[in-house]
Amino acid sequence: MAAVAALPDDVARVAPDLPLRANLSALDNIALIPLYQRHCSAAESVRLAQAMLERLGYADLAPLRDPDMTPAQRFATKLARALILRRPRLVIDHPGAMLYDVPYPAFIRQLAERAEMTGTWEIFDFGWNQALYRA
């Protein structure tokens, strides 16, 4: 896990050790990125964040805070936050530790199809979970 944490700056990570900001809603967690990085206005940032959630099929998550989400919803929010960073590589770090309520390779595949990503998605998982991805 330490090796994944030390990945370069052009990698967006979805990881158990990178939680959402607990006192912000899912929408605000995602809207922070355009607000601070691209200096978008508050309204524009919220619009971009909402569009990202809609793209993943989770528009209804917008008002929820981290403790009120299911693991799958939390993962989708973290993924939306990583996607809005617009980095060329996306690393999903130990998905099993975040997605313990859904059959996760299929779930991630489903999200990847919806997200229409241009970059590369990489999954770092334990070797003994390899069989799950072949299914």
Binding site: D17, L18, P19, L20, R21, L32, I33, Q37, S41, A42
Partner: protein, 264 residues
């Protein structure tokens, strides 16, 4: 001999610890001040968070705070007036009321009020953010925690304490007038003259600086105490305990220094 060595060692460790904490706070303050000077800091996002902080720290509690200030002011004004009457010093009652309440007691109680309500919450939140890796997550997303989380809290704390102490002071002045002169307008001229005599430039500047320092103490110390928390959940209450003790000592120290500068 061993006992003596151990005592000196323990004292030395404590002194070094105090200096480390003091240096950490100073370094954090310098970093925050430098960031304040950067034009990039003053974007819409930071401004929105500052407004939110002022709302949570000052506006949300305004009615409770004013009620509390009113009760305390009424009590002290009554004590001062009855004591002044007993000793035949009624002509000094208005000056005494303003000096005790507006210059000393209300700013001090305001700082305690904000420290207990917001300072402890800030300390807990920052400690939890550190323990839960939320700060690392923000850094990964290139959202600067200082700009997004800490600086707005410092500004919000200073603005809130200065404003709340100012409002409480105005309320005390009004109540002092009503207690001394009642609804009679005849006392307006001597009362305003007394106010003008007390609030010269030096006193006014001293009061504002004192309130600003109180505001800084009730936010800066909890933030730095929260950031010092080891990444263990059970250390969060310890961090809040340490932070709030430091806030209390800082508030008392500011008040003592202010009194010494004014009256000694």
């Amino acid at each position: 001999m061993n006992f003596l060595a151990a005592s000196i060692e323990s004292l030395g460790a404590k002194v070094v610890g105090w200096f480390t904490v003091g240096y950490g706070m100073f370094a954090f303050l310098v970093q925050a001040s430098l960031l304040l000077l950067e034009p990039a800091t003053w974007n819409r996002a930071t401004f929105d968070v500052v407004v939110k902080q002022v709302y949570f720290t000052a506006v949300q509690i305004l009615h409770v705070f004013l009620g509390y200030a009113m009760v305390i002011s009424w009590l002290f004004i009554t004590i001062i007036l009855s004591t002044a009457r007993d000793f035949g010093l009624t002509e000094f009652a208005s000056e005494m009321t303003i000096r005790v309440l507006v210059l000393e007691l209300l700013p001090f109680l305001t700082a305690l009020f904000v420290a207990l309500r917001s300072g402890s919450a800030i300390n807990t939140e920052v400690a939890l953010m550190r323990v839960n890796n939320e700060l690392d997550a923000l850094a990964h997303c290139k959202v600067p925690p200082m700009q997004f989380e800490f600086l707005p809290r410092l500004i919000g704390g200073v603005v809130s304490v200065v404003t709340l102490a100012g409002l409480a002071g105005l309320l005390a002045i009004l109540m002092g007038y009503l207690a001394i002169y009642g609804m009679n307008a005849a006392g307006f001229e001597p009362y305003t003259r007394t106010i003008a005599k007390i609030f010269d430039f030096r006193i006014m500047a001293g009061l504002i600086v004192k309130c600003a320092l109180f505001g800084l103490a009730v936010t800066l110390i909890p933030v730095t105490a929260g950031l010092e928390t080891p990444k263990k959940l059970f250390m969060v209450p310890v961090s809040v305990l340490r932070g709030m003790m430091r806030v209390f000592f800082a508030i008392v120290a500011i008040e003592v220094v202010s009194l010494a500068l004014k009256y000694i």
